[in-house]
Symmetry: C2
Subunit: 291 residues, 2 copies
Amino acid sequence: MDAGLVGRVRRFNRTVTQRIGVLNDAYLARGRSLGQSRVLWEIGPEGIEVRSLRARLDLDSGYLSRLLRALETDGLVVVEADETDARVRRIRLTPAGAVERAELDVRSDELAASILRPLDDAQRDRLVVAMAEVERLFVASLVEVTATDPAHADARHCLRAYAAELDRRFPGGFDLGTAHPAHLSPPAGLLLVARLHGEPVGCGGLVFRGEGVAEIKRVWVAASMRGLGLGRRLVTELESTATEHGANLLRLDSNRALPEAARLYRSAGYQEVAPFNDDPYAQLWFAKTIA
Amino acid sequence: MDAGLVGRVRRFNRTVTQRIGVLNDAYLARGRSLGQSRVLWEIGPEGIEVRSLRARLDLDSGYLSRLLRALETDGLVVVEADETDARVRRIRLTPAGAVERAELDVRSDELAASILRPLDDAQRDRLVVAMAEVERLFVASLVEVTATDPAHADARHCLRAYAAELDRRFPGGFDLGTAHPAHLSPPAGLLLVARLHGEPVGCGGLVFRGEGVAEIKRVWVAASMRGLGLGRRLVTELESTATEHGANLLRLDSNRALPEAARLYRSAGYQEVAPFNDDPYAQLWFAKTIA
DNA sequence: CTGGTTCTCTGACTAAGGTCAGGGAATGGA
DNA sequence: TCCATTCCCTGACCTTAGTCAGAGAACCAG
């Protein structure tokens, strides 16, 4: 990797963590320990189950239990058994706890404001624009793409969302019909799922048709993640996976109701070709020869 | 302050500290405590005095002493008395210590690379550009401007640098001459010094001429800090300070050899006026009426 | 030479963060 | 019904981070 780029990222890391990281901790946890503050913050207004809190903050069960006990004796939270499963415990903020949490909110605002305050209006605008760009690209870099069994809950979530979106956007609706996802499992094919913090946010499938031909299927990106280059990344990873499986020709069909898909494929080097199937939803056919 | 801007800064803080902050600590200090790693890193290849290490990391003297003892028993550093002052102790890295420090360097690179890796070339370039912008504006927001006695070491550093720069840039050189800085002290005037992490990086003076007239003098910004809007900020703060002292007309003289200064004053609303003094270095005169 | 100051170190102590083993209640599937 | 599992809790323990008081050596100004 380009050493110049790496060096600049390191510089950024140093400057920015100095400014936020250090403060964030000390600042936000005034009067209360950082652990307690983090828990208080994460509980949120609707309450939360202890187990999901533990997962989210990645805390040891004994440690979290003690933190909750401390918050409880301070009268900031109440811990009660879940209605449906008495093993599970739910935490709620008391009014006093909500006040403390609001206080954290104010401090967080304060910290943000203290960064903006010394700047003039033009600088503030430039800063916010640049921050948004960095944030988007950071989020993009946090996405992990892994081959996943189509029967896995995450995969099914993606495939369902894919079908729902097509149904919404195609003038005549869309029905996956009898199409069984089995053809997306090895050895007939495979499915890549993109995840952000463990949550599925996109997918892309591949079906091997034999004789070096593979078909791209079911490429979908969550609405909240569009514009981050995730579609492009899925296609690129599908291509390299296809190559690993001995394919040298990739093809796919699409629909005129999805102009952004056609744009993506064209810019990735796919060219429109004659129809190679009679799929009722197919209106455009693309192909690309890969190394 | 605009709540939308604050909210966006907070979003950025959250995403970015999640990505770097958390990692930075745990990651970099693998196998060794964060405190020891920080010290090891800060020692650097040339060694350092214990007292400056203490100042730089803001550590308790007892605590640092213990950290050094631990590093010493691990054979990573040697602590020896300073040659000229036996109270002061100097720390050097042993070869083993240098290896460990290099290891930290590699991990830091790794962290940066792990952010870049999932991105394509175009995204990497965009990220680095946006990071540079954020970093510059963060640095700008870290600068603190305070009124300072012109006799203070920081102030003298700035005034010396100011004179040296003019001497370098004026065709005929520049000599502050007998100009005593006393006129930059209250009540005759004042001097603002801009500091980054306690280091002086800029200044700007004000001299009160009576009858609501104040003169801007000795505006200087360190070469490393140019392009961050610091000059503009100094002028703005000089203006508000002048207002507080009852001035309603600000004026200043400048020289054609400093085009960026003239540009700054013009864009800040200063207009060229007839000469109001016969300073041998003055070639341009500006004035602005303030609220 | 003296007394105050600077610099580092040691001892004693505290709080926070975190790990690990095990126990008891609730649950769900065979 | 019984047994394995899930979920949370408690007790015991450890490291790191950090504070504070004071001691001792070196230095410096008078």
